[in-house]
Every structure is written in C-alpha cells, then in structure tokens.
Symmetry: C6
Subunit: 261 residues, 6 copies
C-alpha cells in the first residue's frame, strides 16, 4: 500500500524537488542563532509528523519582512524531510488563473498529498495566493475559505501532513483569521548587524577588515536591519565590475549603494 502510494505520487514529487531548489539559489548561509533555531524547530515539526500518531496534521506559518528568507527556510526543511510527497503551492505557477482555477489547483495538491503516507505542502507567499491588495482591501475569498478549511482538515486515517506557510503580512493573516488555523507561528527576521557580518565573512567578498565598515555603510544607506535577499542582490550588483577572485572595495560598495537607493 505504501509502495503503491509512493508510485502514484512520484511524478508530482519529481517536479517538486526542482521547485524546492529554485528557492535556494544562494543556498542557506549560516548567519547566527536565530536562523539556526528556526531550522531546528522546523526539523522538530517534521519529526513529530513522522513519528506521532496523535498528530497526523501539523501546520506552521513563517512570517517576516520581504526577502528575509522565509521561502528558502521552508524549502530547505521540506527537502531535508525526505517525505515522499513535497510540493510548493505558489502563485508563480498559476499566473492568470481565475480564482476558481487557483482554488481547485490548491485543493488538488492537498488531495494528492492525502495519497502519500507522509507529505509536506508549502503555501508560499499566502497573500499572493489570496490575490491580496491593501487598497480596498481586496482578495479572493474563494481561495481564503479553501485555505481556512484545508490547513485544518485531517488527512485520511494513516496519512500524515505537514503544512508550511510563508507570508510577509502577518497582520493581514491575523485579520483574516488565517494565523489561527496554523498550529505554530514562527517569525523570520531581517538580518541584524552581527548577522550581516557573519554573512559577509562567509561570502568572502570583502577583505576581512573592511567588513565592519561595509556593514556600517549598508545600515547608513538602508535601514538598521536588512533582509537576506536584499543584501545578496546588492552585493551581486556591486561586484559586477570586479574581476573574479578579487575583493570588493569599500569605495565601489559605497558607490553602488548610493546609486541604487
């Protein structure tokens, strides 16, 4: 039965690993305790779903500012779960679909998951899945109601499911009653100064003694905390004219920051 179930969901599985990886273009750079702790909690939830009989369904929401690394964290946990069914539900693959079509698609993924003994579903960027916009506000109630039901619905007897949601609008989730349907809620923050230092060290793009000043410049042009994704993009842009293997100078760094912000 387990074998047949695996077979049935394999094609779906195949496509999804690629998708998981597409959220990990820069990998997971070690950047301190906060992120380490997040990864451990996610790993613990994976274990609980695998082992406990009384919790065949667990759900966790990762919320934090744009670019803080929510999708990457969700994807890397899903990959490491080694669950036979892992799927990302993202609006990227449903651009232009009608509300109804999106809802059906989402429901289908859950129903596919119910066929596997162990599954992870990532609901990526929930506000985008909901077609949320602050003016109004407007959003798809059809999709919202589907999510409110699906995240709480028990998988059939003998099947287990972990749902990981990501969002950068936790207040909107709150006002929609969406965070109430998740069992656990975790905050993914932007990087603090000490964490940026760790990242820059790891990437080895500045000479070590320039790093404090580089971080200093960054927090001056931008804000006290900087999301991981923004930091990586700016580094990439600053590095453009720098030849392979050479370090980035503080002058070039300052110029790039000035131009882009």
């Amino acid at each position: 039965d387990f074998e047949r179930a695996l077979e049935e969901v394999r094609p779906a599985f195949g496509t999804s690993v690629e998708t998981l990886d597409s959220y990990l273009t820069h990998g997971i750079i070690p950047c301190g305790e906060t992120f380490e702790h997040l990864r451990q909690t996610l790993a613990m939830l994976v274990q609980q779903v695998r082992n406990s009989d009384k919790t065949p369904l667990l759900s966790v929401i990762l919320e934090g500012p744009v670019g803080s690394g929510k999708s990457a964290l969700a994807s890397s946990s899903a990959r490491q779960s080694d669950f036979p069914f892992c799927k990302v539900i993202s609006s990227e693959t449903m651009a232009g679909y009608s509300e109804q079509a999106k809802a059906s698609q989402i429901i289908k993924v859950f129903e596919d998951a119910y066929k596997s003994p162990l599954s992870v579903i990532i609901l990526d960027d929930i506000e985008r899945l909901l077609e949320y916009v602050a003016i109004g506000p407007r959003f798809s109630n059809t999709i919202l109601q589907a999510l409110l039901v699906l995240v709480k619905r028990m998988p059939p007897q003998g099947h287990k499911l972990l749902v990981i949601g990501t969002t950068s609008m936790s207040d909107v989730m709150e006002s929609m009653g969406l965070n109430e349907v998740f069992n656990v809620s975790l905050h993914v923050p932007a990087l603090r100064v000490d964490e940026m230092v760790k990242v820059l060290r790891h990437l080895d793009c500045f000479s070590v003694m320039d790093i404090p000043k580089a971080v200093d410049l960054l927090t001056t042009f931008s804000a006290k905390v900087v999301p991981m994704k923004k930091l990586l993009l700016w580094l990439e842009m600053a590095r453009q004219d720098v030849s392979e293997g050479q370090k980035l100078s503080l002058t070039r760094w300052e110029q790039a920051l000035r131009e882009l912000s």
Copy 2:
C-alpha cells in the same frame, strides 16, 4: 413506513458515524461540572425531540472559543441519540464548492433528514459554512439565507429534527440574526485551572505532584484559560521525545511551551 424510511436513509447514516468519530479523536475527557452540565442539557434536548409531540423541531447553538470542544460535544451527543439519521454539515467536505453548490448540499441534507422519523443535523463551524471573513466583512448571503430558513422550517408531519450548530463567533451570528433562529444557545468555555488539572490527571502524563506546576507554566506562557484542543496538541508535542510509558518532566514541558508560543 418507519422501516422504509430507515432503509432510505441508511447509506447516509453509514458514512456519518465515521464523520462523527473523526471529531472525537481524543474522546471526551471528564473535566468538571461545566462540561457535564452541557452534555446533560444536550441529552435533554435529544429526549424532548424524541418524546414531545408539540416540538418536532428543536435547535441549539454551541458557541465558544476556538478549540474549546464544541464539535466534539455536538458529535458525541449525536452519537448517543441513536437517531436513525445523523449528519454533519461541514465545510471540510465542500472545499472549493461554489456558494450555490454549498447551499444546495445543505438543503439536500435537511431534505434527507425529513425522510427519517428522527434526525440530528450538526451545522459545524457555521462561520466557515458562511465563508465569513472579518475584512469587509464578507460572507455568502445565499448560504446565510438558506440557514435562516432551514433552522426554523418545521419537518413534515410525524418527523422530528434536532439541529446542533457550532460557532466560535457568536457576535457575528448575532449581527446576522442567526442566533435568533436557534431555540437554545449554550456557551462552551475554554478550560479553567481546575479543569486543566482534571484533564492532566486523567491523561496521566505528568507525575501527580508535578501537575499544579505544569498548569502554572501553561497559564504563564499562554492565557488564564486554555482551550481543550490546544492543551491536547501541546501535550502531544512535548511528549514527542519521551519514551512510551514515561512521564513528562516539567523541564521538557517548559521548553516545549517556550518553543511554540
């Protein structure tokens, strides 16, 4: 006639007992007078529908915070009624349906019930059936109007019906005129300290003398009152690493509470 009626509704009956049980994964744990009283009142309503000729239709709404045990109470009363027709109307089986389709489905269950001499219908999580969301607010007026009519509509001569609704948004029900159509309204509260003690004793997962401190920790990390469902989930998560048959230590309990809230 009674016999034929029974036959006609049997398949529906079959599926529904399973559904009723799915709301009772942790059974009904004895936890004090308040819940005992609720169960007795529900039992009395069941008896009245069975016996009285002048009240062929009774309706009761169970309202209380998320996870307080409303669905479990409704299901267990329905099971104990032994009525030939018991059915849960839940949005879980209608995910992705259109408003119209949901309304038709709900009407159909009532019309099936009218064929049985004695019936219980559970309207579980009414705000979800109504596709309610606080932003706006938005909800399906089609479904609301159907409910406003169905809960008050007399079954045909010689047939009897008990309707049990559950909701965690009694103020919303109020503003929609929905609580006015129910004959009786009962409040299902979250657990107070003494009730949590009773539950922990019953579950036997802490050593007896640790229980007061365990409850203390719980009310510190969470709130003064804790819904039954949340308590059971947290226990399950804390218990994960603990080997079968062993008690949960207060240290592990505190750590789990810290991680999850």
Copy 3:
C-alpha cells in the same frame, strides 16, 4: 366566469389551506383585548375588499417582535375570509432559489390571484423574502422592487385582492420604502403580564394559584414582555418530564427557565 375562475385556482387553493394551518399549530389562544382588536381590524379589511367597489386592492402589514404571533394572525384571518384564493408566499418553500427565481415565483402567485374574483396573499416574513441581513446591509433589490410594485398594482377589473404582510423589522421596511406601499400598518406586540396570565389559565398547565408566581419567574428570567411563541416553547420544554394530566410545579418551571436562558 366566477365558476371557471374558481376551478382554475382550485389546486393552488388546496395546498394552501394546509400551509395556513401549519402556522396555527397552537391555534389562537384568547389573550386579551389587544389581540381581539387586531383580529377584528383584519376581519374588517377582509369585508371591505369583499364588498366595496372602489377598493379592489387593500394591503396591510403586521409588524412586531419575533414570535409575537404575526404569521398566526395572518393565517387565521385568511382562513376565515373564505376567499377562493388564499396563498402564503414564504421563503420556506423557496430555500436555495436564486433571487430571480424567487421574484418570478412571487409574481406568479400575484398573477394567479388575479384570476380569482377574491384573493388573499400573505407575504410572510418579508425580511426573509428579501434575503435581508443587517451586515452591509444586504438584500435582494430584485425582490424588493417586485414587492414595491406588486403590493400597489391594481388587480384587473372585477377582481379583488387583500395583501397581508408580516415582518419583525419595521425600521428596515421603513428605510426601504416598503411600509409606504401598504395601506394599513398594525403592530402585533409581545405578551404583557396580564396577557400571559390569560394564556396560562387557558392552557391549564399550572395550578391556578401558581400562575402569578409562574409569570413572575418568567419575567425575571426573560424580559417584561414575552412573545407568544417563546412562551409556548418554554412551557413545552418544562412540561417534558411531567406526566400527562399533571400540573407543572413552580420548581420544575424555574429549573427549566434557568437551563434555557
């Protein structure tokens, strides 16, 4: 012509007497001048439609709190009119219909009525016909506009029509301009203390000397005035364990009131 007209509308007539009776499960219990006066005014309107040539169309709205007896009063007047065409327009027979379908159904009843020389149409629970809900507020403008026209539209030459509407939301009717289209408006109140005494005497369920105290208890647990329907339901529930022919004790009455409110 009169004969043929009668034949044409007979089937409709047949079903409707049953419907009328379904609003009279407890009959009309004598309970004082106010209600007597209401019945007389309705009877007078019936006579005027029957007799006067200059008023082929009359319309009256009965408004009052939920359960005060509006539908029962309308039905009993319609029954006593002995008009060949009597029909109740109620949302109970149209659950799940679309707005358009409801409007068409309502229009059809009026057009059927125009074929009979003398007709009564009851528009029962107008706010429900309109699919009204206070949040928004929302309602069906299609149905409202149909009613605004139909209640004022003259039946064809030689045909006469009495329209009786019922509603528990007279302020909503006002703001919709609906009460303006009715020729007469009558208020159906909840029962005052002296009226409750009369009802309890008539029903003979308490020993006579207990009645004042029974009413006292009732107004303590509930409000100063109590709608007829609520009173009858509560008596029924309190009476459950009492064996046939025996009186209800004040202790049992108090207990029932405490449990249900």
Copy 4:
C-alpha cells in the same frame, strides 16, 4: 406619411388609453387654484409641442408627495392632448424584468413614439423605474443612463414629443442629475385644509355642516396636509358600513381614522 405613421402606432395607442384611465379611477375632482394652474401649465406645454417648430421636444417633471395626484394629472393631460401616440412607461408592466429588459422596453417606447408625428410619453414613478432604494442607495444605472439620454434626445425631423415624468423623490432626481434634463419642473402638493373642504363638498359624503369638523379630525389624526389618494382611501373605508345614499357621521369618521392610523 402622417396617415401611415398613425396606422403604425395605432395598436400601441389602443392599449394605452385604457392604461391612462386606470390612473383616473376617481377622476379629477376640482380642488382649487393650485391644481387648476398645474393643469393649465401642462395644457400649455401640450400646445407648444403641437405648434412650435423650434421646440420639437419638451419635457416636464411632476414631483410631489406620495399620492398627491401626479400620475392622475399626467394621465389626464395626455388624454386631453389627443396626440396620436400616448404611452405610459410604468414599472407595473415590467415587474420581474431584468434591468436590461426594462431599459430596452423603455427605449422601444421612445422609438415607437418617433414614428408618430405627435407623441406623449409618461415616465411614471421614475424612482421605481430606476429600481431605487434608499439603503445604499441602489438603483439601476443602466436605466438611469438610458433616461438621461432619452429625455434629451431630439425626435427625428418633423416629429414632436412631450415627455411627462412623475416622482415623489425630487431630491434623489436632483442627485442623479435627472431633474436637469427636464425642461420644466412642477410641484404637485398634498391638499391643504381649504382644498380638502372643496373635495369633501364635491364628493357629498358628509352633511355640509359636518365638513369643517371632518377636516379638523383628519388633520388631527394625520398631518396638516393630506395627499388626495389617502383622503379618498380613508373616505372609502369609513363609508363601508354606511348604506348607499346616506351621509357619513362624524362618529364613524373619527372611529375609522383612529383604527387606521
């Protein structure tokens, strides 16, 4: 050409005289200068359309309280015009039509009128044509836009049209820009005391010396001014038990007023 045009529109004409008469069940009772002046102004507009070459299109709106006699005035002027094409556009003949169907119907009447050398179109109860309701407010913009265009649109060369609108919501017309498209606006008031006296005298239902007291009673139970239609209805109801040929007594009159208001 004129002859053929006449023929083409005759059937429409046929039905419409009946319709015009249906608004004149009580005829036009002489009741003083105000109403006389209104009728003369309307007659003058009819003449101008008939005679002047530079004004092939004229439009007038009659506004005033419910039941003041607007529809009757419009109908009687249309009848007296003797124009070959006279048509009432009323929501009574379009109950249950969709917005689109109503708009098409209205447009069709105007296009039929363009075929006749001389036409009158009555837009009766414009707020009802617009499906207006104060809550929201809601109304059919489709129909409104059609009216805004039609009332201003010139008939084809050599054809002439008088449009008479009636409404009891002149402020709503104002806010919709509808009164701006009418060339002339006339106010039709409720009856003042001296006018009521004239009506009662004409109807000869009280003995002459009772009339002042009868009007006095009326203004006490109702308001300082009373719309014509209300006065006629109340008289009819009071007169019910009075045998043919006999006068109405003040006692009976007072009783009827007390019962109905």
Copy 5:
C-alpha cells in the same frame, strides 16, 4: 493612397454632417469676444493638425455649464475644418448599449479615423459616455480606460487627428485623470448680461428699447449668468402665443418666466 483612404471613409462622413448640424439648430449667434476667441482657438488647433508634422495628434476639451454651447462650438469647428473624416461620438446613438458595446463602438470610430489622412472626432458629453452618476459615484471604468488611452494614442504614420471633447463636469474629469490626457482645455461660460443683450438684439424678438428690461427680468428670475440654450428655450416658450412678425411684450415675458421657474 489619400484618394483611396477618402473613399473608404466617405459613408461615415456622409452620416456625420447631418449629426453635426443637429447640434446647430439655432446656428451660432454672435455674442461677444469670449465666444469669438473660443472659435478662433479651435480654428487654430484645426490648422495646426492640418499643417504641422510634429503634432499629428491634438486634443482639446470644452468644459462649461449645461447648455452653454459646447456641443455647438465643437460641431461648428468640425464642420469648418473640412477634414474628410468628422464624427461625433455621442451616447444618444448608443442608448441601451452595454458598457462593452459602447467601448467597442468608440474604439471603432477612432480606428476608422486612422484610415483618413485628416480627422476630427467629437467626444460629446463625456460624463454621459462614461455613464457617470454622482451617487456612488458610478461610471463605466471600461469606457473611461478606453478614452484615457484613445485620446493619447498617436494615429499611424502620415495620419492626423483632432479630438474635441465636451463636458459640464470638469471636476469629475479632473478626478478621473481625464483632463490630463487632453492637450488643451477651454472654458465655455454661460452668457453675461452684455452677451444676452447681443443675443436678444440679434434675434430681434423684443423691441430694442425693451431689451435691457428683458435681460433684467431674466437675471432676476434665473441667475446672473444664463446658458445660451436656456435663453433660447425660454424665448421660444414665451413667443408661443405671439403672432409671427410681432415683438414679445415685457408682460408676456415676465409671465412666462414666472410660470417656468
């Protein structure tokens, strides 16, 4: 190419001259510098479109009170342009069309214009084209978006287009961003006292020495400034009983003003 283009658009041209003339029933009466200046500016824009290579598209909006002569000014400029393609886009020819149908029709006219080397398009009464109503406000965003694009869209290489819009709601145009897409905006005012004098002189309907008093009466009954169209209508109505060739007396004038306002 030019020749073939002309042929292609000729039928459209044919119908439109008639339409242009229908806006000029009273011709253009000389009434002072303001209007003269308006006509010259319009003529200059026509010349620029004809001559300049760098401005193949020009757009001008005429805004002013109801009846001030906007449509007449636009039409007369279009006629005098002698451009092979002249078309009025007016809601009068689209009564009852759906939003979509209106938008398509409007787009079609622009696309027809692109086939002619030189074109004028009049967007008459833009608020009516937009189905605008102040309550809400409501309007067709479909049509608005089409206009926002069409008024700015360059005709194809070698083709030239002048767009003249008219509106009496310049504030609404403003809030919709519509006046921003027009290159030039011109105000068409109601007539001042000296301008009314000029018009009355030209029309020769009063004896010359009565004119100052006649204008005086007019500004007393109406307002300080009077739109051209209103003035012409009132003159027509006052003149009704006056036999051909005779002057209008001040008494008759005063009486007419009193009756109509």
Copy 6:
C-alpha cells in the same frame, strides 16, 4: 539552442523596434546631468543582466510626473541593449480588451521572453495597464496580481530578463505593493530652469539671447518645473505660423502660452 531561440522570437522582435521608436519621436535631447545619470544607471542594469550569472532577473521602475520622459528613457535603453527580445507592454495595443484578455496578453509576452536568452520587457504606464482610476479607487486586481507575480518570477535556467516599468503615480504603486517587487526605483523629474535652457539651445528655435527670457515666460505661465513633453508640444504650437528656418519671437511665444494655459 541560442540560434533557434532567436529564430523563434524574431517576428515579435520585428514589430517591437517600431514600437520602441514611436516613443522617441523627438529623440533624446541632451539636458544635463540628471538625465545623463539616469541613462547610465539603466545601461549598467542592462550590462548586469547580460553578464552576471546570479542575477538572471532584474527589474527597475521609472517614476515621475506626466510627460517627463519616462517612456522615452525606457525605450532608448531597450534599443541600446541590443537584446534579441525587446517588447513594450502598453495599454495602447489593448484598448477595449477585457481584464482577462489583458492579463493573458501580458503573461504571453513574459512567456515569449523566457524563450530568448536575453530579453527586455517595458511595462509602460503601469497605472493604465491596471485600469486605475482614483475614484474608488478602482483597478484590475487580475492584472495587478499578474504583474506582482511576473515581475518577481525567475526566467528559466539560462535565460535572462530585464523588466523596466514606467509610472506617474508612485504613491499608487506603493499602496499596491508594486514598487516593492521592483529591485530598483529611479525618479525621472520634470525639467528645471537650467535644463530647459539646455533644451532650447539644442533645438535652436529662439535666438540665443532670447532663451533666458523665454524660459522665464514659460515658468511664469506654467510652473517652476516643466515636463519635457509639454515643453516640446508648446514649442511646436508656438512655431506654427513661423516660417521654416526663422526663430520664434518672444512676443509670439508669450501669446501662445497665454492662449493655451
């Protein structure tokens, strides 16, 4: 592979160069550092997309007042990129399309772009693509959601994309969360006095010593800063009567400014 990809997208490419040029009717007139810097930053982004492997997707939004030159800047950068796929997404080519059709069209362009190894897509006048209007406000959420996803969606492995958006409503973009999905945001201002001097010098339409006074007149009639497009239009209109090769006099300039503003 590169070759085949090129072939596949060639026709699309063909049409688009023309489109790009249609935004450059007046070319790019040198007018100072601000604009030079904008062009360099855009060129740098083009280079980064071409060269860097870690940034296969970059997006930049040009925001500034109406007519400041945003579309021209975007087009000229796209032209100079020499990328095999360059396409403008503009509402001009989609007038009258339904929301759905527009969204599909936009999605299609992105999917065509994904087939080319290097692509530029210009989202011109985003508020118009969104069918935005300030009253309400209203806009197409279907299109907005498509853009929110498309601008962030990575092209497939080995393909690279630069997205350039233009808008004159940066606050609206902000409130829709649209500026957050662009990596870089650049402000395109209206011309300051010194920049207008440069433009007038370049165009050589005034005699050199008249230029300061000409700019002075312009800022007096208009505002302190003037958008490039407005300046060019006014020059064109003033120049109309001036014969080829001759300079524009200050008198003519002043007169033109007076007439048009």
